[in-house]
Amino acid sequence: MRRQKLFLIGLLSPVTLYLGIFFFGPLAIIAVFSVLEPGLYGGVEWNFYHWNYGRMFGWADGVIEWYEPIYLKILFRSMIMAFFTVIACLILVYPVTFWVSRLPERRQLFFMFLITLPFFTSLIIRLYAWLVILKPSGVINDLLLGVGLIDAPLDMLFTRSAVVLGMVYVMIPFMFLPVYSSVERLDRSLIEASGDLGARGWQTFLKVILPQTMPGIAGGSVLVFIPSVGNFIIPDVLGGAKGLMIGNLVEQQFLDARNWPFGAALSMVIMAVVLTVMLIYSTKVVRAGKQVGEA
């Protein structure tokens, strides 16, 4: 018993130390900085200062005034864009996982390799490739102009759609892997049993297949949603001024505006909102999905 305990402590202490220092450490620093006074040239003054949070709600200097809730708007918009990214990834990935799970085992492994293939190239390079595709004199516009379908180039680049497009492209593997693992575990005899008991295809899908694969869908959605909300690289390259996301604001606060405390406060609010959404999602939505069609 004692030896087992020691053994367990030995196994778990590296990860505990690592997370304790390198995960909770930075988090604590951000939390503390978010209530400190910004320094003149970056950094912080060690005085308690709550206007960082106030500024987000139009209460920057002790006087409530009419204001444009720009930060909250952008946060909300970022969440909408992340939501669309999740939905698009799911719609694209879900049928494919069924197809892959029916392949012979070797071809399945090959497909998994293909899914991870994009990771072998730098994200920045892949995003600049998207630039080449989407820009006014890019591949798509050249093609459409050449065929004569359009008279003037389409404005595809530097839009929110372009950002969502890019995020879907980057995030698809994170949706694929969890969804695939739950689809692969789905017992085919459940589908047969459902049909045997008189369910049509769509009934089987809603009442059996969807709830049975819900853990994978939920996992994939979380894995795609969270990095999408806070993403700043993709909107940086593909979004321009219109596609700005909350992650870009945080980035600007730290790098350009040199207002670390305000950036930290923004981060804390993002984290709180995202955590709340995820909590509601994982309790309500997943349960509802499991009971789809009950009534």
Binding site: D187, S189, E192, G195, L197, A199, K207
Partner: protein
């Protein structure tokens, strides 16, 4: 009129090596109303393919499945008035037991109050009253089995198909479920088509047994017919232990196995090459001294004590393989090599003619 007729069902599967295998090679059979029919055979004999074809999970390449007068070829599974109990039970783990049982009613659009009432009735019937709110994962193997049964019966199918449903249960529970299944079938009056590779199970429960091998029906008959009058050597060997002896018949009522070994028959007049089938329990083992005329002589090669009976291997004079003999435990052991005699009732010697 039979409730189910299968005519010349054929199904060919490609093998991974590029060949073909006949899963169903011209199978015909009928199932009557309220009948318990078992499809029995070794794995790969086509029994499961046949069951899945009746359920609608597989299509036939050729042949007809006529269910209650309607041809089922091309009819999707969800429209067929049959239900299946799966080997793995295939319970929906995300639903309560009651919702599992009521599933067929739910997808048919029946009101919730009615389907809950009927689900509870079914749970009552299979001995799971009050378990409706549990999850399948909270039940034992035998209880899951009953849920699967209740779920498949709630829509009142014309035929219930059972795909080796007892194979996952331990021996004692399996024997108990065999009796319960048979009683349930009598009670509700639905035809059961039951797939198994366990011959004991087949004999215990069935009104009729269909013995299959290599996609073909070897024999259809009552358990007694199958056991006592096997149509082929395969059936004789697959159902229970047996002694099979190649013999020649000359019409005298005695089968000659060569080397002076002769077997008495119940009737005479037949002639030609045949296989004589004698069950181990139809042979009586006795000491050589005082053995009657016509007894088969041999000596003991092996004795196995099973408690309720003894199993012997007897080297028979003039025979090729040792004979199996089952004898009740009379408190006497035979020594290895001891001279013994075997007597039998000629009525119990069955003959199989033909090349099989």
């Amino acid at each position: 009129m039979p409730i189910l007729e299968i005519h010349e069902a054929r199904r060919v599967y490609p093998t991974p090596e590029g060949g073909e295998v006949n899963a169903l090679d011209g199978v015909s059979l009928n199932v009557d109303a309220n009948e318990f029919v078992t499809l029995l055979g070794p794995s790969g004999c086509g029994k499961t393919t046949l069951l899945r074809s009746i359920a609608g999970f597989e299509e036939l390449d050729d042949g007809a499945i006529i269910l209650d007068g309607a041809n089922m070829v091309g009819v999707p599974a969800f429209r067929r008035p049959v239900n299946t109990v799966f080997q793995s039970y295939a319970l929906f783990s995300h639903m309560s037991v009651r919702r599992n049982v009521a599933y067929a009613l739910e997808v048919a659009g029946i009101a919730k109050s009615e389907r809950n009432t009927r689900a509870d009735e079914m749970l009552d019937l299979v001995g799971l009253a009050g378990m409706g709110t549990r999850r399948p994962s909270q039940l034992s193997g035998g209880q899951r089995q009953r849920v699967a049964l209740a779920r498949a019966l709630i829509a009142r199918p014309k035929i219930l198909l059972l795909d080796e449903p007892l194979s996952a249960l331990d021996r004692q529970l399996r024997q108990q479920m065999q009796v319960e299944l048979k009683n349930l079938q009598n009670e509700i009056g639905v035809s059961f088509v039951f797939v198994t590779h366990d011959q004991e199970e087949a004999l215990t429960m069935s009104d009729r047994v269909v013995v299959m091998q290599s996609g073909q029906v070897q024999q259809i008959g009552t358990p007694r017919e199958i056991y006592r009058r096997p149509a082929t050597r395969f059936v004789a060997g697959f159902i229970g232990e047996t002694n099979m002896i190649d013999v020649n018949l000359d019409g005298s009522g005695v089968a000659n196995a060569g080397n002076g070994l002769e077997i008495q028959l119940r009737d005479d007049g037949q002639s030609g090459a045949a296989t004589a089938v004698i069950r181990p329990s139809d042979l009586t083992l006795r000491p050589r001294n005082g053995a009657p005329n016509g007894a088969i002589l041999g000596c003991v090669r092996q004795e196995v004590y099973l408690g309720f009976e003894l199993h012997f291997l007897i080297d028979v004079a003039g025979g090729d393989d040792p004979w199996r003999v089952n004898a009740p435990d009379l408190g006497r052991d035979y020594a290895i090599g001891e001279d013994v005699a075997l007597t039998y009732n000629p009525e119990r010697v069955h003959l199989i003619f033909g090349a099989n």
